[in-house]
Amino acid sequence: MSVEIDIQHDFKSFQLDVQISAPPGITALFGRSGSGKTSIINSVAGLLHPDEGKISIDGTPLFDRAAGVNLPVHHRRLGYVFQDARLFPHLTVRQNLTFGRWFAPERAPQAELDRVVEMLGIGHLLSRRPGALSGGEKSRVALGRALLSSPRLILADEPLAALDEARKAEIIPYFERLRDEARVPILYVSHSPAEVARLATTVVALDAGHVVAQGPAAEVLGDPEVMPLGPRGAGAVIGARVAAHHQDGLSELQAGGVPLFLPRVAATVGTTLRLRIAAQDVLLSRARPEGLSALNILPGRIDSIRHGAGPGAMVALDTPAGRVLARVTQRSVGALGLSEGAECFAIVKTVSIAPDDVSG
């Protein structure tokens, strides 16, 4: 299943003009607030009618301005997970979960309800009302409710934004499972780089209503030209396999033959993880450093250097582990004589990789 979006809409404050192709897995719509992320998924849901364009799922049009097609919201069969959960306060958790089943063309079997309830761990909440739930519990019920409406596509509008870090960590694994089961595509709106790096299969970077880049997550997040949140939010994603857990509380990972040391991760030896390495946590050195406390040293070749308006520069480095971004000063670029094609070493402090940056 895939979703094709090609829409234009004139908001008073900005123009929305996007062409997006979302394959199975999680497609993250990534950008600052006001970049048009929510408008895009509201258009897909049918809550907003764009001035021009078309939206289709697997070739079936939901909306086509030119052809006069505009499926009403309730016929689109999409599971929308709202930022504020929007559970029905007068219904129990069970009634909330089964709300969509009354209207689905093929009613999801009881087994499906049991499976979702078990996956989300909300069995003990079924007879309660939403008013008596915590924020994290509400989010899980909202996700379950969307899943049980037999959707062809799931839309998630910053579903974790209202939660604290602990609750986020509680919900993220469920989205990872959904992504890996890959039954339906998920359009996931977020402005959190860590969240996008962990979850996204495909990243669509948005700025002021336009797509700046779209493609596989590692490619888009490792592109120094694409920084929808500015250099502070930039960071590349690399894949690494857990090689060993050491006695001193560190885990050793292998990424393209380079050993990386991280604070102990929960994954078992042999699993492949994604690591987000924030550009501002990376140092560059022309020579292999000696007598340095940092444990992670990645040799590489400079692919590109992007000079910004301020004193900073974004250096993209191709290493055996994958693309790494480093945010350094332009003065350092000059002092070290960094240029495209030059060999250098990226240094990453072990403790700068937070548990938030690691995922399965």
């Binding site: 599971g79 504020d84 029905f88 306060p89 007068h90 209207f103 008013g131």
Partner: protein, 230 residues
């Protein structure tokens, strides 16, 4: 309950019937108008709002006289109703019509407030789950509004029980047909020695009004509790 005389009982029974019919017949329209005013923007929105509230502002005798012009035997609507066998002039049905119109603003106001308290986001969420407009209304809007609807109906019932000016102007004060509690109190006060009966009916009126106010206040609070916990 033999502390009320037969004539007084007759007035109380008639008032209860008039008020019950007035509320039951106008409630569906009241919900529809309240929903339209709360959720839709259309040309004439302000005019409809004004029209609904007019009986609250106009002297009741003016409303009664306008009803007489429109619904009297010679009136444009009254003639039609007469022809289909539903005459309202000088009948208890006319008293119910007058009571319904006078109570309508209170009913619509209470229902509209509780509809406005329902988060439209919940209605949109229901639509994304596959519910059509009608089902959204029945499964989300209506249940969340229900305490407000009940409160509005109770207020309207109490108002209908007490309606006097429009009723006596439109359908006069005929014992057994249009002599409701207020009309009866007025009639008793016109004759020597009628004060005792009048006072008994006054007590009935005060009791009904107080009970209605307390009940509707309690229901309004229940509504707020229900809608507030999203």
């Amino acid at each position: 309950m033999d502390w009320l005389g037969p004539a007084e009982w007759e007035a109380v029974r008639l008032s209860l019937r008039v008020a019950a019919v007035a509320v039951a017949a106008s409630l569906p329209l009241g919900i529809f108008v309240a929903y339209a005013l709360a959720r839709w923007r259309f040309p004439g929105h302000g005019l409809l709002n004004g029209l609904v509230h007019l009986p609250l502002i106009l002297p009741p005798v003016v409303t009664g006289y306008l009803l007489l012009l429109g619904f009297g035997p010679q009136g444009p609507v009254g003639g039609v109703l007469e022809a289909v066998g539903l005459p309202v002039a000088f009948r208890w049905t006319g008293a119910a019509l007058a009571a319904a119109i006078m109570a309508f603003p209170l009913m619509v106001r209470a229902i509209r407030l509780s509809i406005e308290a329902v988060d439209p986001g919940l209605e949109r969420a229901a639509a994304t789950l596959g519910a059509s407009r009608g089902w959204v209304f029945l499964t989300v809007t209506l249940p969340l509004t229900l305490p407000g609807i009940i409160a509005g109906a109770i207020l309207a019932f109490a108002k209908a029980m007490g309606e006097f000016g429009a009723t006596i102007t439109f359908v006069s004060n005929i014992p057994g047909e249009t002599r409701t509690v207020p009309s009866a109190i007025y009639a008793f006060l016109q004759v020597p020695g009628g004060e005792d009966a009048a006072v008994r009916l006054v007590l009935v009126s005060v009791g009904v009004a107080m009970a209605a106010l307390i009940l509707s206040e309690w229901l309004a609070r229940a509504a707020a509790r229900r809608v507030g916990h999203s």
